[in-house]
């Protein structure tokens, strides 16, 4: 076992780490993955993944707009997503059609992103990097920035974690107990915005979900308990990000593709595992009608997913 591990390190990992850009890629991806895995855990817990998705798209306009006026895209991304997150939080949780409103703003933001691109034609390569990530081009300064943002993000998350959990699980009771629901949800969306900005630097705006939703959704299916769920979510995100980079290095496929694939793989395997476990637990009553029900249920799930 240990000889195999040493062999792996010697023949596969060590050569990768000879390169500066690979070391930077691992470091940046590691920071972003842990932040995304932890923040994403609460995003999935609260069923707000659509809001997370929208923040990424809205950020596209911020990033392209920033470039147009000569600011680094990361700061455009951070500024616009945090503002949008706060805006969404102010809309409140109960307003019906909130997702519709977010969807309209999302489309508008993408439209603006396109407009900014139109005026900055020399920008095509950078646009691809924004949309799909370019972790292999990360430099030292960016790593420092990512760590700084990460500390702020996780620090804020820690500060509101307790009421956030309470408000997510039992909003009606939390409100009665004096949790300021609107403030908590607004602060949380601002935190999500920061995490989206981080994760977009690695996998790009379009694939933010692969670090922010795949790992936590997988973790919530696999383990019982919050702390373990959070730890597993962060661990999975980290593993998928690093493994994705390693696979990309040896296959020459795009890094983001590898990470997205691993994330999806993890999710569907965990789904299979929990379904199999449920079937095994209840197999004594597993007559045909039950199985039919199961099948139609999973078909329904699939349909929902395709509507998403």
């Amino acid at each position: 076992m240990t000889t195999m591990a040493t062999a792996t390190i010697n023949t596969i990992i060590a050569p990768m780490l000879e390169y500066d850009f690979m070391r930077n890629a691992f470091a940046a991806a590691g920071v972003a993955a842990i932040v995304s895995g932890l923040v994403g855990y609460f995003l999935v817990l609260r069923g707000q993944t659509f809001a997370g998705h929208a923040l990424g798209h809205i950020g596209f306009a911020g990033a392209t707009g920033a470039v147009l006026i000569g600011v680094a895209p990361l700061w455009g991304l951070v500024g616009v997503t945090v503002a949008a997150g706060i805006g969404m939080g102010m809309l409140g949780e109960r307003i019906s059609g909130r997702d519709v409103a977010i969807g309209v703003v999302l489309a508008l933001a993408l439209g603006f992103g396109l407009l900014f691109l139109h005026y900055y034609t020399a920008f095509a390569a950078q646009a691809t990097a924004l949309l799909f990530g370019n972790v292999l081009a990360v430099d030292r300064a960016m790593i420092v920035t990512l760590i700084g943002l990460g500390v702020i993000t996780l620090g804020s998350l820690a500060a509101i974690m307790r009421p956030l959990i309470f408000a997510s699980l039992q909003p009606e009771l939390a409100e009665a107990k004096g949790v300021p629901l609107r403030f908590v949800s607004t602060a949380f969306l601002a935190i999500v915005a920061l995490a989206v900005s981080e994760s977009a630097q690695i996998v790009g705006i379009l694939l933010v979900f692969s670090l922010m939703v795949g790992p936590p959704a997988t973790a919530q299916r696999l383990v019982t308990g919050m702390w373990r769920g959070m730890a597993l979510s962060a661990g999975l995100a980290l593993t998928e990000a690093w493994l994705g980079i390693a696979i990309a290095y040896s296959t020459d496929w795009p890094v983001s593709f590898c990470i997205a694939t691993l994330s999806a793989l993890g999710f569907f395997v965990s789904r299979g595992v929990s379904l199999a476990k449920a079937n095994a637990d209840g197999h004594f009553q597993g007559d045909t009608t039950d199985q039919d029900n199961d099948r139609s249920k999973s078909r329904r799930d699939l349909r929902w997913r395709s509507i998403d």
Partner: protein, 278 residues
């Protein structure tokens, strides 16, 4: 001593007056059954007592003060319970998230808290739920968990908003009896809303009927009578007593039963369905 005092209280929601000019007083240790059709204002009254809905006129006093959110003396089981189907969280951890859940910072669970949760779960006969994940509990089991959660931390006033929904007949009786005993032993005041008087009749001290913005509070003999309820509902109401079971009838229809069939949906989700009452 009066735990709750309403003095000519009007509460509006979205411009609609749900309670109008209601005055009443509830004494310490009383078990009050709160009844009335859908949309009568049972939930609204409790939210008013919790400080979530300030009255537009009149004054509410709870323990002698204007209601304020986060009063640790008040325990509350809301009618709408959000259910997160995919979350694998043990019953014990779920309850723990509500303990001092309003404080900032990271969650933590002291040994003393754990022991207290354990004791309360045992008291409601739900000890077995501590280790089971929430996602695998039935609606009724979740309900028991929520009841246990409400009883934690020595409350002096219990506001239970339809805690009997999705419980079977046997467990309904168990819950009512349990709350009554728990409250009587500790001299806790209880407001217990339900859709059928008969569910509570053995436990309650007085009933509070709500309807058409008004309220009638008194013993069953005083309030559950044809004249009082007819006036409250503005309709011809008959009250029939069969073997100690009381049926409130409007033109021969059982008001309480036919009005609330939708509540027995059994899966823990409860949609607010505010049909106006004829």
């Amino acid at each position: 001593m009066n735990v709750i005092e309403l003095d000519r209280v009007t509460i509006q929601i979205g411009g609609r007056r749900v309670l109008v000019d209601v005055s009443l007083a509830i004494r310490r240790g009383e078990f009050i059954g709160v009844l009335g059709p859908n949309g009568a204002g049972k939930t609204t009254l409790m939210r008013g007592l919790l400080g979530l809905l300030p009255p537009s006129a009149g004054s509410i006093r709870v323990f002698g003060h204007a209601p304020q959110r986060g009063n640790p003396d008040i325990a509350y089981v809301p009618q709408i319970r959000t259910v997160l189907p995919d979350l694998r969280l043990r019953g014990l951890d779920f309850i723990a998230t509500s303990m001092r859940g309003e404080r900032w910072g990271m969650p933590s669970l002291a040994r003393a808290d754990r022991i207290m949760i354990d004791k309360t779960l045992t008291a409601v006969g739900a000890r077995g739920l501590a280790e089971r994940p929430l996602s695998e509990m039935s609606g009724g089991e979740r309900q028991r968990l929520l009841l246990a959660q409400a009883l934690l931390g020595e409350p002096r006033l219990l506001l239970l908003d339809e805690p009997l929904i999705s419980l079977d007949q046997h467990y309904q009786e168990t819950v009512v009896e349990l709350v009554r005993r728990f409250a009587r032993d500790r001299n806790i005041t209880v407001l217990f809303s339900a859709h059928e008087l008969n569910q509570l009749i053995g436990a309650l001290d007085r009933v509070l009927y709500l309807g058409n913005g008004g309220a009638a509070l008194g013993t069953v003999a005083e309030v559950v009578t044809a004249p009082v309820l007819s006036q409250l509902y503005g309709a011809d109401i008959n009250v029939v007593n069969v073997d100690g079971h009381i049926f409130v009838l409007s033109r021969g229809r059982d008001v309480e039963r036919s009005d609330h069939l939708h509540d027995h949906d059994g899966n823990g989700h409860h949609q607010h369905d505010h049909r106006s009452h004829a």
